[in-house]
Symmetry: C2
Subunit: 351 residues, 2 copies
Amino acid sequence: MVWEKELNERKRAILKSIIDDYIQSAQPVGSRTIARKHELGLGSATIRNEMADLEELGYISQPHTSAGRIPSDKGYRFYVENLMQIQSLAKNEMAIIRKAMDEKIEEINELIKRASTIISNITGYTAVVMAPQLTRSLIKSVQLLNIDERRLLVVVVAGGGIVHNRLVNHCGTIDNTHIAKLNQAFNIITSGKTLDQISMPMVRDLQKDINVPADVILSVFEAIEDCVRKIETADVYLDGITNILNYPEFNDLIKAREVLDILKEKDIINQLVFDASSKKQLEFKIGSENEINEMKDLSIITTVYGREGKDIGTIGVIGPTRMTYGKVVSSIKYIRELLNREMLRMFGDDS
Amino acid sequence: MVWEKELNERKRAILKSIIDDYIQSAQPVGSRTIARKHELGLGSATIRNEMADLEELGYISQPHTSAGRIPSDKGYRFYVENLMQIQSLAKNEMAIIRKAMDEKIEEINELIKRASTIISNITGYTAVVMAPQLTRSLIKSVQLLNIDERRLLVVVVAGGGIVHNRLVNHCGTIDNTHIAKLNQAFNIITSGKTLDQISMPMVRDLQKDINVPADVILSVFEAIEDCVRKIETADVYLDGITNILNYPEFNDLIKAREVLDILKEKDIINQLVFDASSKKQLEFKIGSENEINEMKDLSIITTVYGREGKDIGTIGVIGPTRMTYGKVVSSIKYIRELLNREMLRMFGDDS
DNA sequence: ATTAGCACTCAATGGGTGAGAGTGCTAACA
DNA sequence: TGTTAGCACTCTCACCCATTGAGTGCTAAT
């Protein structure tokens, strides 16, 4: 029995060769291949012995007796933590990305969408981007606009320049003076507060001061609630979902469909990304490390972006466990830089 | 040689049987099957003769010599126009649909999204819904709101209760009186007009009257343009894209991927649906009738909804040519009714 | 006009076989 | 003692071939 710490140089080199090769070829890799392609100065028999050890330790496995070895999830885990070399982006790739991100975009959601498209194009996998999440966000101001006799528009502005609106239908006509009063009153009780800090009694009190039907006030308040909810629900964008169909591990239609369906479940993705977000700089979930069963053949690499401590979003890449980790990591890091810069430009330091 | 008009009763009955059977089984259907399953009181040999005729006329074809027949696009065309029986929805299906649509929804886009989900669930195919399209829509009003020292919010309201907004960054502080003036001025030159009716000189003139930097005025105008563009770009929702993977005709992964990718191209879908919308009540595009090559194995059934002459959207179903036309038609019709009703409720008669 | 019967065609199925890739083990070697 | 060449063994995969079965077209009988 050999200890994990005793993965000596040679074993590491061999493991790395196996994984590098497998990532590239998707075929079980045998001892001869390693001996030939990677110059380790070792005979195939030696490598065979080492491979037997690695298998016993659980880093690799054999699909069947007379096949080569494929990395296990544990193998990949060791690879990303110790062996992988980060493969920096080519000059022209960087140029392409920068060009796409430099186009003037004024809306945060457009920016995010753009970023996800770029990542999926550059990596060839599925990109997932979660917009900056503002939980418990403060309401900056509320505006009521008279659209026509029967409708009001409620506009809620939160920090970071995020705006949502909602129509409110009502029956009677309400003249502009009343609207203005209502507007002012609502601003007093809402601005600078989070949603939970606004109590119903406050809203009811409004009615005494202003001569507007109670149900209108209630509807307006519901609309505000609705807008805040929308603001606090982080948007998630996926791009390149069908990319996974390119990889031989998903040749099986049933499996492919399962995976596609899972990726469509925004809730799940949300959860997935959310889990991953808070802790580290760069988070790997490899194969069976995902709780979700249908994703046991997928890996997901995520990282956070945004202004530290204020509003952070998540970007990530989903692909087969046999992923080009080195390249994906550098792509994600690069995009993160650009996103951070852009967010700073758009929002400055306010919150 | 037999004429198309001379598709006699018997040929029609046989053609219908073939298509019904093929839609259900996805297998080439032979003369024996027809003779046994559908009681036409005919021997298989007779049916064989008739089938030979139908093949010569182009309604059906043989994948290879010793296989049964499958319908051609021409066959399906004849089927939907003359043979198909509309298969009305089951009571409980109608109940499910109604229940889903009756939930209180205040936003048109939510409603549309909901509708597409329902259709794809009920039919098992891909649903496509285009939101009501307001080309050349009149601007009802424009509102400017001061967000903070450096930002303005521009809100554009169009007919039908459609609202879009956009932030404008500026450098200097602008006080509320100026905002109000600018607001009023913009309203005068924009409201009741379409975008093309607003000329640049008009915008430039504003500057003389109001003491606000020229670039701010320009930015605001750009924001208005942007909002109008968004209003006029009809949203398209697709639901159940991966449903097509359920059908054996897309067992081929390459083909499946092609189709999925095509469906993701919103532009193409837009075009597709747009083409289909104007003319008839119910529009069928069967297989090769689609211009797009990747869609030659798909059929699309569309119809329009909305308030006649005012704003019409499109709903449709995309599936394999071997589609359960009868059921899809009734589903679409039913959803259309509900959508129309709902739109009327939400928008009343205004425009 | 219809149909029973028959010869024919062709795709699909399944067993059999050989090639190839890879392993584990042993014995020889530095 | 670590390394390696050699060899027997295992297992998959691709290919071939015969068989099967569904379906046709044609002909002759009803």
